[in-house]
Symmetry: C2
Subunit: 444 residues, 2 copies
């Protein structure tokens, strides 16, 4: 038996998945390791957090994706460390599942993603919810819906009730989407559901230290998105840096040093991200640099300095060019997808004794949604907003969803919601930790 | 302002829901209290446990059902006790949501359901999983799927691996359905998904002390169902009473006293049930009798002895007739539904100064499914099996599902699964307790 070239891929997110897919018919043996049994479509996780979609509609079993690919083995395990000399991956305690200690590789691809960071205030995570993982999104869902239930049973005026005040920290795509969704939940979905409170009087406040929302878009589209949010009833507070988060609310500080307090029991964090600790570990082992967000700086072909057989991709890395300069790439799915494809291509080239090639990102454009029928699109100078932009947003997201079943179900859910303002998955489920979502381990 | 007649309904299951629905246009003020924010379609919860359906497809928000009924108030709270003299319901700590302490009623309807009992061995609950609540069904799903993952990482031969041995205790409808679903999961859904283990070699063992499965059906249909199960690869062991359950498996004892040990990490309990503790409490307060399963014995019109203004319905009660005799009714949805309707009718009659009427159960027939295309139906002597029976089972279940969206989604999921053998919701999610589902509070 000929020993096939062993490729180990760590992480089944956008990067890892797209690195494995082109290798299905290549003369390699692939082991895809993830601590979860599913690929999560993270751009829609926020819809789980507001009950618009169910968890299984944005997650797809990794095994099913590769069930007909005999050269791909999926392994449910957690990667703890690497031995670059012996060329092995060390596995840790993996969610209660027995696993061998080491996995040998000829080529290693690390695509371990990122998690939220709290500007050096990790204690904020105790009080702020986030929508990075599937379980944390379900925690947010339970929290948001419980807030209305709690308010219904209480005796406070709606405007003063911290249960009916929702603070979203971070005016990037996720923060904007969450704000819009919560506003729609309160003003449309729940409109007729309560007898004592008026859900329309819920306050939805989006705060960020920047001077406009969605800074990756041109200012004109930011302005349109802001107006859309405000029409939905969202209170957009820019130049408001969050300087404290505790059990009763948040404190913001403006650039003039003015402090404001917002009493709220519902704080959703959608601000800074930090790379997986595996980025730092790879840097330590190889002498590579890490940037201020903990991201590993790779060679132009996405390999590790001094280790052409090791690649790192996705939002745990930044890429330097041949001059050594790092042109920052956004932490978005298209970047990870293209990097995954690139690595698969380099691996296949090397099997044919061809050299490596540098990675080049093709920016296909930028799209963000604010709410039903509201979105902005920027494709190489073509700027759209409103319903046409929203249709593009919808098609792009259905297109990139993995699996026929999920595409059909999501399209059906959205169609029903579009006409009824209903939400298909408004369940309050028992969640382990009550005051925080961070008890749930971050996904790879 | 005229004080409307106050009806308080405890429990939003089949009985409670159907008691409230006919009162939507009656001159009453209804408060529906449940500790969950959703109505659970319990007959399909087992499909959540095997990943065939997602949680939100079998659960529907109570508020949404009554959003357009201004005289119905839904309250998320837990009922702890009653004061029959002062006519109030006492609320307890209700899942973190503030609630007033007491709710006054003119008429009270208690429909608090049942939970599994363990033949006096409550310690079995630590090791056995069950599918009574939505969260417990999700725990089962995570456990079943993790079992295959764990086996894939282990070095044991499949046949000896306790991770690949599934024991289902109880040969009633739930036990039979779970056995069939697990067999289909292993033999069809997961067929191509693993590289080291062969999921087809998983052992699915259905055990019960009785001498045939589905005893509520005629023996000829039981025999057909047994053959269907065996064709799916289920090992049906009758006259095997479970006498011990621990972390490593179960012990069964036959009527001859012969003991057998089955090593298994996956024990699903679907045997005896016991009524909600509220049944016993109502009995204490009123002097009513309780049967051996903790069920309250009501008057012929479903009221509490000496308290015509208090009704108890569903699988927490049995009904005596005028001679004092109790004709046992099965703990099934149709019984609870008819009792709910009956109570609403009596309430409306009384508002018009008409007297009460006794409850009469109309048995519309019995249906159970074994697997895809396999079911048995017994309707007043008409006995069907196979595909025709399965079509009837399917139509009945879609019909009784609450909500247009859920009907469409479930039908779509089943249609896709029928042709692909896939399952739409195969997620392993982080679950609070690892060795038991009983850490999750039982639903009302």
């Amino acid at each position: 038996m000929v020993m096939a070239h062993k490729v180990v891929v760590v992480g089944g997110g956008f990067g890892g998945l797209r690195a494995v897919q082109p290798l299905r018919r290549a003369p390699v043996e692939v082991t895809l390791i993830d601590r979860r049994n599913f690929h999560l479509f993270q751009p829609l996780t926020y819809q789980v957090a507001t009950g618009a979609l169910g968890p299984s509609e944005v997650a797809y079993p990794l095994r099913e994706i590769f069930s007909r690919s005999p050269n791909v083995r999926v392994m449910l395990a957690e990667v703890e460390d690497f031995d670059l000399d012996r060329r092995t991956v060390k596995l840790g305690e993996s969610s209660g599942v027995d696993a061998p200690a080491d996995i040998a590789y000829d080529t290693l691809v690390v695509a371990a993603g990122s998690s939220y960071s709290y500007f050096g205030h990790e204690e904020f995570a105790r009080y702020a919810l986030e929508v990075k993982t599937l379980e944390s999104a379900e925690s947010v869902r339970s929290r948001l819906l419980s807030a209305f239930e709690s308010a219904e049973n209480a005796e406070l005026p709606d405007e003063l009730n911290p249960d009916l005040t929702f603070v979203i920290v971070g005016a990037g795509p996720t923060g904007v989407e969450m704000s819009g969704q919560i506003a729609e939940l309160a003003r449309e979905t729940l409109r007729h559901d309560f007898r004592r409170i008026n859900p329309k009087r819920a306050r939805v406040i989006l705060v960020d230290g920047v001077d406009r929302i969605l800074t990756s878009f041109p200012p004109s589209l930011s302005a349109k998105a802001t107006r859309s949010l405000e029409r939905l009833g969202v209170d957009v507070r820019l130049d408001h840096m969050v300087t404290d988060v505790d059990a009763t609310g948040v404190t913001t500080t403006t650039s003039d040093g003015e402090q404001q307090r917002i009493d709220s029991h519902n704080v959703v964090w959608a601000a800074g991200v930090t790379a997986s600790p595996l980025a730092k570990r790879l840097a330590e082992l190889s002498g590579a640099a890490v940037d201020k967000n903990g991201r590993l700086v790779t060679e132009p072909d996405l390999s590790l300095p001094g280790h052409p057989e090791v690649f790192a991709i996705g939002d745990m890395v930044q890429v330097r060019d041949h001059s050594g300069e790092v042109k920052p790439l956004p932490g978005l799915a298209p970047v990870a997808i293209q990097q995954g494809h690139h690595v698969a291509r380099v691996i296949k080239r090397r099997l044919q004794d061809q050299g490596s090639v540098p990675f080049r990102y093709h920016d296909k454009g930028n799209v963000a949604t604010i709410g039903k029928g509201r979105a902005i699109v920027d494709v190489h100078g073509l700027r759209l907003s409103g319903l046409p932009a929203w249709m593009i947003w919808l098609v792009v997201h259905i297109w990139y969803l993995v699996g026929f079943r999920n595409r059909v179900l999501v399209l059906l859910q959205w169609s029903i919601s579009f006409f009824t303002s209903g939400r298909g998955s408004r369940l309050i489920e028992a969640i382990p930790a009550t005051d925080t979502a961070s008890a749930v381990p971050p996904a790879e």
